[in-house]
Amino acid sequence: MRLKYFAWVRERVGKTDEEIVVPDHVGTVGELMDWLAGQGEEYAHAFENRKVIRAAIDHVHVKPEAAIADAREIAFFPPMTGG
């Protein structure tokens, strides 16, 4: 599946997007953040305060409990500040 990062999550991870293969035991958005946080220093930094990070699956806001099984694109970003 494709991951996308925005704003300071993007800056910390160091990339705008990437294609990843997720282990079978990672079933939800929250578990995906836990798993990503273990993938290196930049990810650990990006996901150090998971409570403030928002996620979207296929362009729709989701909560950490959301299942990722059918996701094509998952995005992580800080709270929105548009408008």
Partner: protein, 159 residues
């Protein structure tokens, strides 16, 4: 009624957009336009410029969902939402919402509803250039509270 939703780096003209909604019509009694403008100060510090990052694809989809919700809640005769991205300087336009209806409360409330949701739900992030350096704008609790006041029990919650 087909809503207009645009994301663009170019500036917009609020008057032209409002005129498009009302041209040739005599059933509209109220038009509200909201224009959000880049300010030279924010929460106590100066701002010399800002860059708006957005999530292409999701931004359009999220705005469209809120426009649909606004149309379910109010009898709207026209809606336009334009959000710019890229670099902006103080005085530059950022966002435009135009709503048209037979009566003023529908036009006022739907415009305010759309702005409250754009602030807290549309995937845009502001990166400021300040006298002391650069920094991401932090989300405000007040904006979440403003969006929260529009929440209501979903009719289909038990379905």
């Amino acid at each position: 009624m087909t809503p207009t939703i645009r994301l663009q780096s170019e500036d917009f003209d609020a008057a032209i957009e409002a005129a498009k909604l009302t041209r040739g019509r005599t059933d509209i009694g109220a038009v509200v336009t909201f224009t959000g403008i880049c300010r030279d100060h924010e929460a106590g510090h100066g701002v010399s410029a800002m860059t708006l990052e957005h999530y292409p694809g999701m931004a359009e989809a999220e705005i469209a969902r809120h426009v649909d919700e606004a149309r379910r809640r109010w009898p709207l005769l026209g809606v336009t939402v334009i959000h710019r991205f890229g670099r902006m300087q103080p005085g530059d336009n950022i966002v435009l919402v135009v709503t048209a209806a037979a009566h003023r409360h529908a036009a006022f409330e739907s415009a305010e509803f759309l702005m409250d949701y754009l602030k807290t739900r549309a995937p845009f992030w502001k990166h400021e250039e300040r006298p002391g350096g650069m920094g991401w704008v932090e989300a405000k609790d007040a904006d979440d509270a403003a969006a929260g006041r529009w929440q209501r029990p979903r009719k289909d919650a038990a379905e």
